[in-house]
Structure formats: C-alpha cells, structure tokens
Symmetry: C2
C-alpha cells in the first residue's frame, strides 16, 4: 500500500476486506453466497421486485431494509413507464459494481478519490426482442462505460485503478461471460 | 391468437407490439436503441445511479421521470448497506425482463394471468471477487429462477409461456451469453 502524508480516506475499510480474504481463504465454505431477488407481476410489463435476504458466511443474512424496484417498459413501447427497463437495471448493476471497485482499489493503493462518475451506453437492435430478425440478438450488441475521475493520482494510475476494478468486478464478469440460468415453473 | 369468450386482459397492448414489429421490420434504423445509466460515487462502495434518457425510433427519448438507484455492499463486507448490491440489480433486471415477457406472451396467446411471481437465486463463491482463488469466477456460478403462476391455462401452456419469454428476453440473453464491454477513462 502506498504511504502518503495525509491518510487516504475513500470510505472503504480495506483492513476488513484483506481480513475477509485471509479468513475465507482458510474457510472456503463461508465464501459460498447466494444472492436473491423476488419479483411480483403488477400489470402489463410492470413488475415490482424486492431484495432483502441473502446467504453467506455460513448463515442467512439480511439487508438493513427491504429494497424495492419497479420495472416497466417505456411509453414508446405502449407501456406505462412505471420504472426503469430491465436492461437499464443491468447497466445500473454494472456501473455500481465497477464504481465500488474503483473506490476499493483506490483505497488499497493509497489514492485519494475526489469524484468519480460514469456514463454507460448499451447499444441494442430491438429487432431481436421483437422477433423481426432471428440473426439479431435480444441483448446489447455492446456496452461502453466512460469514467470521469478526479483523484490525487496520475492519469496512468487512474487508468490502472479502473482496469483493476474490471478485473475483480462480479457484474463485469456476468455481462462479459456466459452464466447458466435455469428457469422452472413451480 | 386464441379466441376466448371473455376478453383476456393482462395489461399488455399486443396490437401495438405487433404493429411495432411490422414497422421496425421495414425501418430497421428505427430499431437501433441506446439505453443509458449514469453513476456517481458517493462514498466507500456506495454509489447513486440515474436512468432517464435513451435513444430509439431515430430520436432522443425520455422516461416520464428520472429513476434513481442507490447501490452498496452489505454490512458483512464492512460497508454501510445503503442499497442493493450490484449483483442483486442484475437479478432484478433478469426477473423483471422475464416477467414482462410472460405477461406479453400470455396476452398474445390469449391466456389470462391471475398472478405471477418469481424467486431468483444466484450462487456466488466470493473467493473470486476477493482474489483468493484465480480459478473461481467473479460472477454467479449459476442462477435459478422459479416461477409461481396462476393463469387460466394448463400447466403445459404455462410452462410454454415461460419458455417463450426466455427466448425473447433481452436480459436472459445478456446473462447467458457474452457481451462486449469497453471501459474508458475520459
């Protein structure tokens, strides 16, 4: 970790993360997590999802509160726009994962962050989801993430922060690599 | 479309979707969409993302309002739990995409839905994100989606609804297949 005259404080408890890495390396069963969401259909393309419980460190865990998310399609798709679209939720997940990673890596490397913002753009040919052209995929053809970072570090060190965040990001991995999804009706 | 004595109403405007499919098939440039999110780092692993504008049908579009999403890591990761975790946002996106699809396909097939709910479980070995074991991926090892659907249809027809929703789902495609993500520092 770099030493600086003024203690760097990005609000990330690096000692705890390093401790967790050591603890979980010697107790790999505690590292098995299950993240969950529950979704209830409201009407049309509008649904309401909640996030509250998860499993990890060998036992049931709970968020401090239940987080609720309305999703819908926009009015130009003849829907009522009661919430962000499902694909926008994926962009939020990617943005927040990479940004948390930037803060954590910066703390670890002794780099003080002053401000971090990101713009995400996901390109999609909706001929896929509409079934117009079977050669067009349903999802994004690609996603571009652009960071603006003000930090007490050189441009190269800032680029290296972002690169390391990508390397350790759960959502970046989920989006860029295939994940098996099984869907069942109870 | 199936004919029934009582008009089926799941709140989905199928005529508009069929019209869009025909219109976009003859004007493929209008089908080029760009979905966006903006993310601002708050402190530690806490960030705030907004969703408002997007591009489609050849012009800038706007949601009816700006949707704002706080994301954070939970307290067991030495964070302050100011919002759902980034990977939970991906589960919300997947849940809401498949559920909107179930409603749309049911409407198209003349099946009245009474209730639809889904539970999503994403398994993750956090030795990946912590960098304990380079052979463990950062993302989910797999996701299980379980639907409970009450509809005026046979169990087989309900299973077929869900299968067709998977086939047309943008987020299911994003999660199960690789997507290119470029990350730049401005």
């Amino acid at each position: 970790m770099a030493m600086t005259d003024t203690p760097v404080n990005n609000g990330v408890n690096v000692d705890a993360l390093v401790g967790a890495r050591e603890a979980l390396g010697s107790a790999p069963e505690a590292a098995q997590f299950q993240w969950r969401a529950n979704c209830t259909w409201v009407n049309g393309t509008h649904s309401s999802s909640t996030v509250e419980g998860f499993f990890g460190l060998g036992e049931e865990q709970h968020h401090r509160t239940t987080f609720t998310f309305d999703a819908d399609h926009p009015e130009i798709f003849a829907s009522e726009d009661h919430g962000a679209t499902p694909v926008e939720y994926v962009l939020v997940g990617l943005a927040s994962c990479l940004t948390a990673g930037v803060a954590a890596v910066a703390q670890y490397r002794g780099i003080q962050l002053n401000s971090v913002s990101a713009t995400l753009e996901g390109e999609m040919d909706v001929q896929g989801i509409l079934g117009v052209d079977p050669d067009v995929r349903n999802g994004f053809s690609g996603i571009k993430v652009t960071y603006n970072i003000d930090a007490d570090a050189s441009p190269d060190d800032i680029k290296a922060l972002v690169a390391q965040s990508q390397k350790r990001s759960a959502v970046y991995d989920i989006v860029t690599n295939p994940t098996n999804v099984t869907v069942e009706v109870a």
